[in-house]
Every structure is written in structure tokens, then in C-alpha cells.
Symmetry: C2
């Protein structure tokens, strides 16, 4: 029995949209908070297969989403390449000095092996999931990961602008391009390992596609994604890929045309009309406002209906435009699932 | 002698693009830092006509920009409506409790009178400027100002998302719409006072149009701007208006069509092709990446050339996509001015 999620991702218009939420395993769930408290730190939590598998499964048990996404973090890759990563409570990630691009290049092909615990998590989850639920693996996209590697998580001018990293892009284009190439290679191996371990779809999170001028969007997002997709296929991966260039609605149609992913995730700010244009090119995923999920009420029902009306006539996976917020009431998640007929 | 700036804004394709920079009076200038040190706090500085006029004129003397923009702040309006505003060094604005919408509604029509010092600044600058240099007045747009009024500057979830304010939008739509209406009225009177005091163009800064789903873009940006433009005209203002819905490139063409401003400012992330579409509808302004101005070098020249090639064949005012950064070298500003033939 193929899952509704994989049906939609293969281009079928399903009877109702399959649904899962970004960061569906997270702090808004009391069972997650209890589990998380048992781990000494966030990275250890991600790399403990039993704990990560349990976190992945918690929202599946509670809500019966159509897809599970492996519990992991986009910053595991720098760790696998030798850059120290840790999280300060209540703040963003912090990272040690970046190793040389040359030394990271030597380690790129073994990124999958380095991150075997994530593969083990995937295997555990796949065993526990019923057949009609899909399992998604993921990785951070090269530019997004590079932007943290370059600023060490210390960017104070404007997180949304990735100012430190973008200044490197302008001042040392050769160095940045070399770093992106290393990340393409490492990420391809990491994604292959995930597919080999049971992931049935792979999502590429470009969390910081936002705010880029179009020349940089081409150079930092489109081209590295093209290279990554080609390299993943070259390594023999056949499962569908989803691209998520967050914050780049103005470039969405171009991305959909130029990057050979199987599906495209849209963010909160993507106009419904743009979503329909993308949908003519490939299946889409998204894009309820996470703040509306937090607010609930009639406004939530109304927007869910609008999305259903706008996108429900083509291949579409229901999701949020960004991750679920820690203070979202569980009843609001249930309200959405009922509204779209998934519960 | 009409200024090149006003020519472009009236729809003429000028021999070279007129140029000014957002936040051109600012901390990257040593003379600004010296002047600013003489004022006890930022709001007092803005409301001291002699000081604000001097700050406005400093970059005009140094660089000979085609337009000066009055030195003021988008958060003067809440102050005029009775909400306390102050700035913590190195942080964003902080604001006291918001007065009731009813009490603010009573004060809306006198917002211009309350902010007479800004009019005095404009008069002083206009006297000092040569005829071929234009003088721009401005105000924060209703939603942007409302978003600070609603969160008091204390939004910790995500500044870029205006999360606190947007949650009010969903949970108390009637209250938020009433607040926006009061701000439309107050801002219209404030802009009229500026035009009466010598402003030759008025810019509406929607600094936080970013990240809005399309239904909210319509409700929080398009409609209030339409109301504001209509009200400003009703009050007898005839000078051109520039709209700047920052961070909304995906909605740019719609904004250009639906809002009856005379010119539209584009931000860094607006694709060149979208800019050309907007330019068919009205004159555009923008949109060099402020981080590229900071980086300098060949990359800066190359992008300036790209912008010239893409937009130089229609009515276009050269500007940054966002404000100039405090650590921008003065030589980089000069490099741009030379490149476009303005120095």
C-alpha cells in the first residue's frame, strides 16, 4: 500500500492532501519535552538512534500524520566534516573554527559513514511505522549549512540576512564556491546513506534562501541544488527529492523549472497564485502560516479552506510554511487535521 | 531646475539614474557620529530640528546625492499618539504600553502638529539645499508601525516575522483593523505636514511587509496603503508618493498595480525581471545589496553594471535595497557614485 504522501509526491492528485508538519517532533509536545530532558545536549539527542527514533514516532502516534521525518539537525554535516557544533540553551547554534576546505574535502565522501546513527534512527522508525506512512530523510542545503559554518553562529548584524556569510560570498567567491562544492559532495553521501537506511523521500532544507539578490540566488541556491541532485542520482539514489528554498517566493517558478527535484516545498509568504504556477511544473508542499496554527480559531479554518481551494485540485502535500512553534496548542493541530479530513 | 530625482519619479528616463541611499545619514559617517554624541538620546536627536537638519545635510555635502531624506524615525508616530518610545543602545526600539485605540483615534488628526519639529527640519534643509537636489519626507507604513506598537519592541520569537503582532492580527482582527485605520489617519496628517514644510516627495516605509502570506499582504499592506494614499490626496497633498513594501518581491507587481503611489521602491531580493515588470507600471527605486556596498571591490562594480543594464533603460532611481550598514567604508559609496556617473 503506497502512502498518500508518496502518491502526491509522484504527481497524483489525492482524495485529500497528505499531511505532515515541519518540526512535528518538537517542544509543543509534552512527551517530547520529557524525552529531550533525558539527553545531555541537543546534538547527543540527535545522534542517539533510540531517542531520535522515539522523537520521530511521537507525533505519528498522537496525530497519525501521513509522513514521519527523521529527527536530526541540519548542522550534523559540519560536525561530520570536523567543525565543532553545539547549542546554547535559548539561543541559536554555536560553532567552532571551520577546518580548512581541503581537510573537509578529504572527509566529504565519508560523511554518510560518520552520520550512521541517523541511518540507524531511520531503520528503527521504518520498522515501527505502518506501510501507509512514509518516512522522510533530510539534509540542510549547501548554502544554508555554509552560512552557519562561515559565521560560527555568531552573526549579530542580522540572522535573516546571513550578513557575515554573504560578505564572504562577495569578498572570497573562490573560497565560498569551493566550500559549497565540498558540502554538495558530503550532503550527497549523507542523503544516500539515509536512502539506504529506509528514507523514502529526501528533503533539502535551504532555510536561508531568503533575502538573496537574484545573482546570488542563482549562485548559492540553484547551482548547488542542481549539483546536489545530480550527485545524489549518480550515487544511485532513486527515492524522490523535495527542494525547500525558504523565503524565495519571487524565485519559486524559476527554481521549480531549473532544479530537477521531484517536489517543491513552499513557505508561508508564497502567494497562492505562485503556488499554482509551481504546481503545473511539479507537486508542491506547504504552506500554512505557523503563527496561524498558533492562533487557531475561525481564522485558521478559513485559511485551511483557502489553501484547499487553491491547491487541492493538483498534487499537494499539506504542511506549514515553516516549523511548528513551541507554544502551539495540540488542539490546533487536531483542528487542522479534522478540517482537511485527515482525522 | 527640476532635480533628476523628481524627473525620474515623474516617469522620465534620465541620462543617468538619480541616486540616494537609504540611511545615508548615519553611523558610517564620522561627522554623524560626532553630531549624534551631542544629543542625549535618539528620539531627542530626531526631534531637534537643527541637529536633524545637520544630519540630513551631512551626506549631501560629502557625496552630492540627488536627494536628501529628512532625518527622522518611523516610530515618531506612536509617540505622537501617546505611546512612549525609546531606544536601548545596541538594541531595537522599546515602547511603553499602547494607549487605547479610542484615545489614539482622538489624537490622530493632530499627529502633524505634534510632530512639527520634523516640519521645521524639512524647512531648514530645504533652505540649505540647492534647487537641483530633492528633499524627501517619509513615514512608517501603518502595519510596520502597528507591529512595533503591538509588541512594544519585545518580540523575541522572531523579529523578521513580527510574531507577536501577527498573532494579534489573527486573534483580534477587529482591533488590529481599527488600529490600522487610526494609523492611516495619523500618518496622512503627518505626511501632509511634511509636504507643507517643503518635502517634495514622500516615502512610505513598510519595513515589515516580509514573510506575510498573501491574504495578510492584502489586508495589512495593500489596503492600508490604498487608504493612506487616498487620505493624503484628500488632504490636498500633491507631491509624488513612493511605496516601499520591503521583503515582498513575490507581490511586487500586484502592489505596483493596486496601490496608487507614483513610484515603487524595491528591495535587495527583488529579481531584476520583476523590477522590469514593475517599471512598466511605474518608476522604480533600488536595489543594490547593502552587504555588497560593504564588501566593495570588483563584485560591487559588476552588480552596479547589472542593475544599470537591467533597469537603466526606464525610469529608475538608484538606491540600496535596505539601509546602509554602519561599517560601510566611505570609499565604497564613492565607488558606486563614480560607476554610475554621478561623481
Amino acid at each position: 500500500m503506497t502512502s498518500l504522501f508518496l502518491q502526491a509526491l509522484s504527481g497524483e492528485t489525492t482524495s485529500r492532501p497528505p499531511v505532515w508538519f515541519m518540526r512535528q517532533a518538537g517542544r509543543y509536545l509534552p512527551e517530547y519535552r520529557a524525552l529531550r530532558a533525558e539527553a545531555p545536549d541537543f546534538i547527543s539527542f540527535c545522534l542517539n538512534p533510540e531517542m531520535a527514533a522515539e522523537a520521530t514516532l511521537q507525533p505519528m502516534r498522537r496525530f497519525g500524520f501521513d509522513a514521519a521525518i527523521v529527527f536530526a539537525d541540519i548542522l550534523l554535516i559540519p560536525g561530520a566534516l570536523g567543525q565543532k557544533v553545539w547549542f546554547e540553551a535559548g539561543e541559536g547554534p554555536r560553532m567552532g573554527l571551520m577546518p580548512s576546505v581541503e581537510s573537509m574535502a578529504e572527509r566529504a565522501a565519508s560523511a554518510g559513514d560518520e552520520l550512521r546513527p541517523v541511518g540507524r534512527t531511520l531503520s528503527l522508525v521504518r520498522e515501527a511505522l505502518s506501510e501507509d506512512r512514509a518516512l522522510i530523510g533530510f539534509a540542510g542545503a549547501p548554502w544554508t549549512v555554509a552560512s552557519y559554518m562561515l559565521d560560527g553562529g555568531h552573526d549579530t548584524i542580522g540572522k535573516g540576512e546571513r550578513a557575515v556569510a554573504r560578505t564572504y560570498v562577495y569578498k572570497d567567491p573562490v573560497g565560498v564556491d569551493a566550500l559549497l562544492d565540498v558540502l554538495v559532495e558530503a550532503t550527497a553521501h549523507y542523503l544516500k546513506m539515509q536512502a539506504d537506511s529506509g528514507a523514502q523521500a529526501l528533503k533539502i532544507f535551504e532555510s536561508w534562501a531568503e533575502g538573496l539578490p537574484d545573482d546570488l540566488f542563482e549562485r548559492l541556491v540553484v547551482r548547488p541544488h542542481q549539483k546536489l541532485v545530480a550527485r545524489v542520482r549518480e550515487l544511485g539514489v532513486t527515492v524522490p527529492l523535495i527542494g525547500f528554498p525558504r523565503g524565495s517566493a519571487a524565485h519559486a517558478v524559476r527554481y521549480a523549472r531549473d532544479v530537477d527535484v521531484n517536489g517543491m516545498a513552499l513557505d508561508t509568504a508564497c502567494p497562492l497564485g505562485v503556488g499554482r504556477e509551481v504546481q503545473k511544473i511539479k507537486p508542491i508542499q506547504g504552506a500554512l502560516d505557523p503563527l496561524l496554527l498558533r492562533a487557531g480559531g475561525e481564522a485558521l479554518d478559513r485559511r485551511v479552506d483557502q489553501l484547499m481551494e487553491a491547491w487541492g485540485h493538483g498534487p499537494w502535500i499539506f504542511n506549514l510554511g515553516h516549523g511548528i512553534l513551541p507554544d502551539v496548542p495540540i488542539t490546533h493541530v487536531e483542528q487542522v487535521l479534522k478540517r482537511i479530513g485527515a482525522q
